[in-house]
Symmetry: C2
Subunit: 205 residues, 2 copies
């Protein structure tokens, strides 16, 4: 919880601070990020930063709260309108998610780095707050679909989907850095590649 003083800052300044902090955390992870760098980057003084936030951890979790809830808010309409057919449903959801990452590159990078956080202390706290949410996301995805055609246990299918989708997204986002494509072409490309992997999953190797 940031002090009210921060929330009452003008929007431009708040944005500058949040962006600088997210960029630093995304690049170096929690422990190796430096509050000195952050204040230098956004042009405020050390004293100010620690009047706005209790400490480094407070700042970090404030950013996480913000970006997690913003993503949830942005994706909510897409989720509400998903198909019932499992394969369509997964495709639509994945496209919506990846589109958000592409449209919000900094926040996207920040979320990815947060999921990969190595500091065991901070990692435990992240899990405690949001741990279930990512696992639950896939369960929700499946719960909302008709599972008639499945030949295997719900839980196992869910995990396989999670592993393949996160692996695919990660590799897609990594490869993307080279190419310079419009958002539309990127989405097309994503769909094409994704469908190959979903085919493998649904039809078998």
């Amino acid at each position: 919880m940031p002090e009210k003083v921060f929330l009452e800052l003008d929007e431009e300044k708040k944005e500058r601070i949040k962006e600088a902090a997210m960029a630093e955390f995304a690049e170096y992870g929690y422990t190796n990020s430096s509050t000195n760098n952050i204040v230098k980057e956004c042009g405020i003084s050390k004293g100010s930063l620690f009047k706005y936030f209790e400490n480094k951890e407070d700042l970090y979790f404030y950013l996480i709260d913000e970006v997690v809830s913003e993503m949830a808010r942005d994706l909510a309409p897409a989720i509400a309108g998903l198909s019932k057919d499992l394969k369509k449903r997964i495709t639509e959801y994945s496209v919506a998610e990846i589109s958000w990452y592409i449209a919000n590159p900094l926040k996207g990078k920040f979320m990815i780095s947060m999921a990969a956080e190595r500091d065991s202390d901070i990692y435990a706290k992240i899990i405690k707050r949001y741990g279930q949410s990512s696992d639950n996301a896939y369960l929700q995805l499946m719960r909302g679909a008709s599972l008639k055609g499945l030949h295997h246990g719900e839980k196992e299918v869910c995990e396989v989907l999670k592993w393949v989708l996160t692996g695919f997204n990660e590799s897609f986002l990594k490869d993307r850095s080279g190419k310079r494509l419009s958002a539309g072409r990127l989405k097309e490309e994503y769909l094409k590649q994704l469908s190959v992997y979903l085919d493998i999953l649904f039809k078998g190797l």
Copy 2:
């Protein structure tokens, strides 16, 4: 490359130092590991450590070299005797790999932590030395199998296998911490769970 002085130490002392260093690196990752902790843990002085190794990075990569080549050496016989059938082949290889992790818990934890290293500088150097090897491992696995029955591209199938196997191994090793099973029972349990996931992959969801 460690100085010869280190290599000429008696085995017991070398082992003490390597174990302390691996435990520290495995627990905290490269950057957050402290050479002070390491020397404290293995009972040598700071000066000695830096006579044995040029610097922290030198020590880190020496350990990686050691454990990577040790694992390769230990698994070589199992790999040589793998079946030609893809499903059997994958199962046999996975069992051999997981058995090694279980038989060498410290080295296993060290390798896992190394694969998850977040420091971008060190991560790049790890990739440069060993990057292809993990990706290649799966390609080798498939190249040595008869791929007659496959309905999809070799590359894509290979990636799906990689994502699912790494995901499954990670989750299996995480869950294991609770249970206290003998090595034999563990292997049995592993085989049982793995076969479920491979069924899903080969037959389709």
